[in-house]
Amino acid sequence: MSTQVPKEPETEEVETDPVVKSAQDRRIREKAERTARERVKTDEAPDLEGEDTRVIKVFRYDPEVPEKQEPRFDEFHVPFDKGMTVLDALMYARDTYDSSLTFRHSCRQAVCGSDALFVNGSQRLGCQTQLGDLDEPIRIEPLPHQDVVKDLVVDMQHFYEQMEAVDPFFDPDDLPADEMAEQAQTRANREKIKMSTRCIWCGACMSSCNIAAGNNDYLGPAAINKAYRFAMDEREGSDKKRERIEIIERENGVWRCQTQFSCTEVCPKDIPLTEHIQALKREAVKENLKFW
C-alpha cells in the first residue's frame, strides 16, 4: 500500500514542457498516471488480514515517468514467511502490486552479484539478507555513490571500468613447454589467494568506501583485490607482477586507501579486502625499495 503516491501529477506544468510534445511522451505520461491510480487500487487487493506481514520502503525513481522524476519512497506490505529474503519481498511487491518496480536480480543464491542494495543503512545482497533479521520499517535503496538509473538499479559502468583497469586476467611470464602439462601451484599459495578469487563483482565494497565516494578515480577495494588475486598467484611470473604493482601503486591506487574497513565489513563473500590492500601496499614499498 503505497502511501506516497503523489497527490496530483502536475499535468498543466508538464503540458507546457516542449519535450513532452511527442505522442510517445504523452502516451508514457498517461499510462503512468493510470498505473499510479491502479496501484492504489490493486494495493488493497490481496487480503493480508491476519497474516504476518512486513513493511518495506523502497526507493523509486524514473527519469522518464513524470510522477517518478522526483525520487520518493513507496511502501509495500508483504506477507512474511520464515526464510524470506529481501529479494523475495521485492519480487512479491513487484509481482503483486507494481510491475514497474525495477531491480537487478538473477541467481537468488549470492553468486551473480546483481542485487547489492542499501538495506537499512548498509550494503547487502538482497537475496542473502533475511527479512526477519531486519528492523522495521525496512528501507531499501540503491547502492550509494553510484548514479541511479531507475528505482534500485544503479549504473555499474564505472565499477566495471575500475575492475578492468587492473589487467584482471592471468598472464604468466611463460607456460609449460608441454601443452598438456599443468602449472603447479602449492596448496599454500592457493589458500593465500582463495578468498580473493571469490569476488562476485557486486560493488558493495566500492559503495561503502568513503574514499571512493570522494574521489571517483580511486580504483576501489574490489579492483585492488582483483590485482591481489593475480599478483599473489605464484604461477604468474615476476615480470607481470612488477607490471601489476605499477598499476596499483599509481596515484589513485592503493595509497588512497585509508583503512576504513567498511569494504571488508560489507563484502558478502567475506573477502578480507583491507588485508589484501595492505598486503599490496607492502609489496609496492618492497618493489620501490629495490630500485633505490
Binding site: S122, P144, N210, A213, Q278, K281
Partner: protein, 131 residues
C-alpha cells in the same frame, strides 16, 4: 534516452548511517591529526617569543600557563595527541598486516586507553594553576 540520477544528499546521509569502528577511527584520526598540525604551528609561534629575549619568553609562558583555559586546552591537546599516537600505532600495525581481524577491538582499546591516560594526567596538568 537514458539518464541517471545523482542522489546528492540522500546518499550523503546514507553514508553516515553505516558508520562503524573503522570509519570512526578514520574520522577521529583525521580530526586529531589536523588539530596537531594546528597546534604545532601555534606552538612554534609561542615559543619563538624566545627570539625577543629571555624575559619576554618566560613572561609569555608563565602568563599562559597560569590561565585555566590554557590548562584545560592542554588536557584536550593531550587527549588528542594520545589518541592520535595510539590509533597511529594501530594503523602502523594494520599496515604491517597485524591484527586486521581485531581492528575494531584495537580502536575501542585506543579510545579507552586515551580516556584513562587523560584522566590520570589531569592532576599533573592542573598542578599549580591558580583558580
Amino acid at each position: 534516452m537514458s539518464q541517471s540520477f545523482n542522489r546528492g544528499l540522500v546518499e550523503d546521509f546514507g553514508r553516515w548511517r553505516e558508520f562503524s569502528a573503522g570509519m570512526w577511527a578514520w574520522v577521529f584520526h583525521k580530526f586529531t591529526g589536523w588539530v596537531l598540525v594546528g597546534y604545532l604551528f601555534t606552538h612554534i609561534a609561542v615559543l619563538s617569543t624566545a627570539l625577543s629575549g629571555p624575559a619576554a619568553y618566560t613572561n609569555t609562558i608563565t602568563t599562559l600557563e597560569g590561565l585555566l583555559v590554557v590548562r584545560v586546552l592542554e588536557v584536550g591537546l593531550l587527549a588528542v595527541a594520545v589518541f592520535h599516537m595510539l590509533n597511529g600505532s594501530r594503523l602502523l600495525l594494520v599496515d604491517l598486516g597485524v591484527g586486521l581481524e581485531r581492528q575494531d577491538v584495537s580502536f575501542y582499546a585506543s579510545l579507552i586507553l586515551t580516556g584513562a591516560i587523560v584522566v590520570a594526567s589531569v592532576p599533573t596538568f592542573m598542578a599549580g594553576v591558580s583558580l
